[in-house]
Structures are given as structure tokens and as C-alpha cells.
Symmetry: none
Subunit: 424 residues, 2 copies
């Protein structure tokens, strides 16, 4: 157990998510991430999560394990009105409590159904007013299942419904309860994420680790995906000022190490492109082949993109490259569609076609077919044109069709961003 | 414990997902759902899941609990090259095994880095060749972290990397191992999903429930998302023939209820469009405004799309609509950019511009800005042109920017698919 700054043990939470659909893998457990994030921000981070089906013994067992390691246990799911909703009974059984009818809750449920035009409460819903002895109900503003709060030997057990919008609607009340009970012991987890692109994790990590040698008040983690590697700093069990100072110091140490690989701000290169273009009043046109509109999609994912993106052409076939982007037919014939020259012509052509200040061109072999010994799957040429100046980059990406396309879009956007920043 | 048909105990799996980012709630645990789904399909459904941080004792404890309740334990995460990757060591420790250097694995890693242009293996990656004694490595085709398989007292422990693409790429090999070891005891959970689009869950569900009255050998669930509502049938612990017969009967009962809302085949409307266009030898051009290339993205997500998709224009600004799609300026002036007439002109214009048999046009207000009392956020006009015949649809979608765009693309593709099917 980590001790917090003032010598009191850090407060810890555990989570039990309940539902057969989770175990079947047909539903992604977004509640687990959502609740975990809120509890970390609140200062009671989750240290264990358990997922079980709609079965009393499994729920009861998970609750016991959770109480063994944490002072706050949150469950989600199994509070509905049907026979496969087992959480109330399982928790009551596990804590040695009876299920009692909560008359106030029953009145609230009856009122809710009257309001919806029912003469009486459907019998199934009556079970939702039966709660473990000693629990307090948290009203559910968007559904029938109330949240329930119990205390057990100084620990707090919180039962929440599994429907994400109901769980989320109840969570403010949960936070109030936790603050009331544990206030002085809460220590929000502070997280700062630095984003990089264009450098592999195994090359980046040792450089970061070297720079961070001797720093013990910050945890460092690496989170790779197809668009780059994020470096995440975490400060725990500290007061806010100390934590922020430690994060600032860590970020400063890393600045020279990350260098040109760092993606500023949000870490989303497309967002950065839109922001810097907006600031300068510049515009953009896109010419995409193998990425099939992915760059357009990423740019238009950013609200406000319409002021900078004048248009884009998905030019899959060669005639479209010629007609809409003005790629010379002889360049296509001599160099092939997948070539630096064609990428260059597509970038300038996209800028020209939409009368934009900047253009992007991408051509490559995303696979699974279309590879040759000379130009295997993963061969991609990206180009950016900024104020008439054009640069190209040749890449050989690994991975399947989707990976190649995601990496290609990211490479093109990164090249464009760097050129815009240099262009000043 | 459920017994499978032949009296042998059903095979059960447990899952341990590892990663501080999961507990911090910064990453949604999609691996858990993905692996759970595959194991259910294979016939070794998951009965417990555990999530822990990057910490040896927590990983070891979860592994022990998992082995207590399941014959197959899968872990994900913590196999990377950096110091916060703890799974190899924790598992070795928990099972009382040493970590040994796997020379074959080392050679494969060295080869991989040579291929990417590195003179030697980064030292951090060398740790990835150190594996618990007695484990077999499963080659990773898309990354550096191999999967590892161990057996322990008749149980199987499978360690997989946490990067979803890598975990998924390795899973075929995992399935082979499980089949080899447990073949006759596998009882696939049979799931059949019928896809619908264009009908709300609250209208669909009562109709389905009425049609399914008296059916007890099939579980029915509703899974709504932004593209439509899936109806899921589940048959468990039955032999394949009985299960398939029950699923067939259920599907037949529902056919008249789903009617025109049913999406055939894969349930992916874009894939169906590409397939039917390919069969007919027809081609497609796209004109998108508020969807910003999302339809192009969905179409080009389908391998083989290049033979049908001649091109697409993302025409955000009005001049682009005029110049590239031939939308008449007076229509834009009179009706406004967000109008049925402009959608119609964009669809015909896209077909004409790319000399394609079919065209799609989409214009709308995706938000968050841009709404007016007349045309609030969510107002979208979609149009499809098939062999010169054009139809439009007006929608008012709820939800945020992303929701509106996803629903718009789906509506346009659905309209196009229906028109192609009607066109003979």
C-alpha cells in the first residue's frame, strides 16, 4: 500500500461489473473505464476490477475480494427489474443482510410509472424497491434502478445500474457521498500525457527512461498505437501543488528528448493542423488515394474544420488523379501511381484544384493485394505542399490494410504540420 | 457450473487484463470484450475477468484466482519492452518458474529490427525474448511482443500483448492451441445477430418479443448503436445441430417482423453496397459535405472497393459544390446549402463528375455550431442517384457531431443500397 503525503494510507477503490453480455464479449465494458476515471480524478483510484455474470455466488465472491483490498467498492449492473438482475440479493447475502422493502423508494417508483400512464407498478419493478438492510437509495433521474449505498465496517459499497447513461447520471451523488465520508483522505491522481509520432516505442523508451533517471515522484508509462506513442506521467498521493510541480519538472526534462517527435497540444495532429491553419488564415485541399478519405475524415472530425478545408478528392483510379488533381499522365506512366513524383503532383494538384494554400497527396499500396517486389504492401508516398513548396516522404509501413492507411494518414498530417510550422 | 450436453463439465476460461491505463480509466478495455467473444465462439466461455495494474503482486494474485476457477487463463498486456511491462516476470514468479532467454525468439526480434534498418536490437527489446521456463512463443506478425503459452497442472495459461491489433493477430494461433488441448470439450456459444437500420429499439423490441413468445431455447437481446439495432439470439451448451436448428427457427419467426429494416449479410451496409455494385459491374462517385469523407472511408474500408469507387469529393465550401459537383449557384442561393435540392444536385453531380453509374450526395448540419431555428443541428439531406434516377431523404438526427455524421453516412448508404436493389 502506497502512503499518501501526510502519512495516512491512500484511499483505494475496487470495481465489480456485472453482466452476462460482458462475459460474452458482445458489450464492451465502458462503465469500467468511466467509473475508474472519475474515481481517479476524485482521489480514490481503482486498484482492482472484477467482471462476473448474472449469478449470485460469482457476484458475492467478487464483492468479498473487492472489500479485501479497497475501502470503496462500486458495482455496476444487475439492478434491473428482471429475474436475471441479481446484484441486490447477492450483495445482501454476501454482507449478511436481509432484503427489505424501501417504502419511500416504492412510492417513487409508483409515481414514476403513474407519470408514464400506468395504473399500477408492474410487478417486476416492485423488486427494485427491495434493498439490502441499511442501504440508502440514490434517486435515478433517467431510469427505474436507483443507486444504493451501504457502509460495512468503515468501508463503502455503492451499487449502480449498468445502463451507462443511468450510471453516469447517478455519479454526482456518489461523489458527494464519498467526499462526505472520506474527504480529507482523497488524493486526486494527476495525469499528464505527452504525445509523440514517428518514433518507435523501443527507441523512445530508453531515451525517456534515461532522462527520467532519479525521478521517483512520477510514474512513467508508454502507450503505443498506430498514430504514435504517448508518454504518460502519473503523480499520486500528493497534494495538488506538489503534484503539478512534479509534472512540470518532468515535462521540462523530457522536452529535449522528445524534440521534433512531439505532437503539441491535444496530441491529435489533425486538430493541430486545423488550429494552426485557422490561426494563419490558410486553407487546405486534399488528394488521397490509398487512404481513401481518411485524412479528410480526420480533418473534418475537428469542429471548425470547414473554415480551412476547402475540399478533398479521393482519387483511387488513375483517370481521377489526372482529371481532378492534374497529375501528368506521363508521370503516372513513367513512375507508376505509387511514387514520390505522383504524391508530389497530387499535393500540388489538390492545392491548385481547390485554390488552397496547402495541399496533401498520398499514394501507396495499402494491401492486402497490389504489392510487387519493388513496391510491396506498405509502400506509401506522402507529400505536402505549403505555399508552393512541396516535400515528399517515402515510407514502408508494416501491418495490415487498416494499419497502413492509419499510419499513412498520420505521416501525411505530420509532414504537413511540420512544414506549416516551418513556413512562418 | 453448467454441464455440457455429454455430461462432461463445460470448459471455462478466465481473463486477466493488465495495465495501469485501464485502472486509471484512460483506456477502455476493448481487449476484454474481444477475447471474451472469441472464447465464447470457440466454446470456452469466460466466467471471470480481472483487471489489475502494472504490478507483480497484483498480476500474480489475479492469475491465481483465475486458475482457481478456469481451465484456460488468458492475460493481455504487460509484454512490451519497457520497465512497466511486468507480466512475464509476475507470471513466472506466480507459477514458480524462472525467466529464460529464448534464443529463437531473440533471433526473430533481431531480424525484425534489421529489416526496419536498425544495426542492432535495442537493449529494451532483448527483455522480450526472456520468457517463463517451459513456455512456447507464438510469433507476433505485427509487433515485437510474442504471445506465450504455458501449461500448468492441466490448465493453460496464455499471455498476449495489450496492443489490440497485436493481440488479435496472435489469436488464431491461440485458438489452434486450445483446440489441440481441449478439442472434444469445446461447446461453442452460438450467437446469431440480425441487423436492422432505420427503426428505433423501442419500436422494434415489443414486435420482436411478441414474435418470440413461447420460445425458451434461445436468449434474445437488443443491441442498439448509431447505425441501427442488432437483435442477438444466443444458444448455449447445446450441440451444434440442435443450436443451429433453434437459431434457424428463431430467425424465420422474425423475418416478417424485421421486413425492410433488415440489413442483409454482414450487416455492414457499405460492404453490401460494394458487393452488389461489383456483381453488377456498376461504379460509384461520392459528393459529401457534412460527413466529410465518412462515406468514402466506409466504402474504402471494404477490400476491393477500388473497382467500384471511382472517386469522391468532400465539398465543404459552396464553391467546391459548384465547381466539382455542378450544383447550380441559384439552387444554393435559393434553397441554402442544407436542402433536398442541393443533396439531389450533389448526388447527380458526383455520378456525372466521375462518370459513374451511381452517386451519393449528403449535406447537413452536424453541429455543434451552424444550426438555425429552421435547420437545427441534426438536419441532414441525403440523396442517391442510380442510373439517372435520384431519390432524396430528409432526416433530423439527434446526438452530437459524431453521432449525426455516422447516422448520415448510414442513411445515405442505406438509401443507395435500396435503390440499387430495386433497380434490378
Amino acid at each position: 500500500v502506497t502512503l499518501s503525503g501526510d502519512g495516512a494510507p491512500g484511499l483505494r477503490s475496487a470495481l465489480v461489473t456485472v453482466g452476462e453480455e460482458l462475459l460474452l464479449g458482445r458489450t464492451v465494458d465502458t462503465n469500467a473505464a468511466w467509473v475508474s476515471g472519475r474515481l481517479a480524478d476524485l482521489g480514490a483510484p481503482v486498484i482492482r476490477r472484477f467482471t462476473v455474470g448474472d449469478e449470485d455466488t460469482a457476484i458475492a465472491e467478487a464483492l468479498r475480494r473487492a472489500l479485501d483490498c479497497a475501502e470503496i467498492v462500486v458495482t455496476s449492473g444487475g439492478l434491473g427489474p428482471t429475474s436475471d438482475d441479481r446484484t441486490r440479493e447477492a450483495v445482501a447475502g454476501s454482507l449478511g443482510r436481509r432484503l427489505l422493502l424501501d417504502r419511500e423508494l416504492l412510492a417513487r417508483l409508483e409515481e414514476r410509472f403513474r407519470h408514464r400512464g400506468y395504473d399500477e407498478l408492474p410487478p417486476a419493478n416492485r423488486s427494485q424497491a427491495e434493498v439490502p438492510e441499511g442501504s440508502t437509495a440514490l434517486p435515478n433521474p433517467v431510469g427505474t434502478a436507483p443507486g444504493l449505498v451501504l457502509t460495512q465496517e468503515g468501508r463503502m459499497v455503492i451499487l449502480l445500474p449498468g445502463v451507462p447513461r443511468e450510471l453516469q447520471a447517478l455519479f454526482h451523488a456518489v461523489e458527494d457521498r464519498i467526499r462526505d465520508a472520506f474527504g480529507p483522505r482523497l488524493r486526486p491522481v494527476r495525469i499528464r500525457t505527452l504525445h509523440t509520432t514517428g518514433i518507435p516505442e523501443s527507441v523512445l523508451a530508453p531515451r525517456v527512461e534515461k532522462a527520467m533517471e532519479g525521478v521517483s515522484d512520477i510514474e512513467v508509462a508508454f502507450l503505443p498505437d498506430l498514430e504514435g506513442v504517448d508518454v504518460r506521467f502519473t503523480a499520486r498521493d500528493r497534494d495538488e501543488d506538489t503534484a503539478e510541480a512534479a509534472l512540470d519538472a518532468a515535462e521540462e526534462r523530457l522536452a529535449p528528448v522528445l524534440g521534433e517527435y512531439r505532437v503539441p497540444g491535444s496530441g491529435d495532429v489533425a486538430r493541430e493542423v486545423v488550429e494552426v491553419l485557422t490561426r494563419r488564415g490558410w486553407t487546405l485541399g486534399l488528394g488521397e488515394s490509398c487512404t481513401g478519405g481518411l485524412v479528410a475524415r480526420r480533418i473534418t472530425d475537428v469542429p471548425g474544420a470547414s473554415t480551412v478545408l476547402l475540399g478533398g478528392v479521393v482519387a483511387y483510379a488513375n483517370p481521377a488523379k489526372v482529371r481532378y488533381l492534374g497529375v501528368p499522365e506521363e508521370v503516372l506512366a513513367e513512375r507508376g501511381a505509387v511514387s514520390a513524383e505522383v504524391a508530389r503532383a497530387m499535393a500540388s494538384g489538390a492545392a491548385r484544384a481547390f485554390e488552397a494554400d496547402c495541399g496533401v497527396g498520398i499514394t501507396g499500396v495499402a494491401g492486402p493485394g497490389g504489392g510487387t517486389p519493388d513496391k510491396p504492401v506498405g509502400t506509401v508516398h506522402v507529400a505536402a505542399s505549403v505555399g508552393g513548396r512541396v516535400q515528399t516522404e517515402a515510407w514502408r509501413f508494416s501491418g495490415d490494410r487498416e494499419a497502413v492507411r492509419i499510419r499513412s494518414a498520420q505521416a501525411a498530417l505530420t509532414l504537413l504540420l511540420r512544414m506549416i510550422q516551418e513556413a512562418e
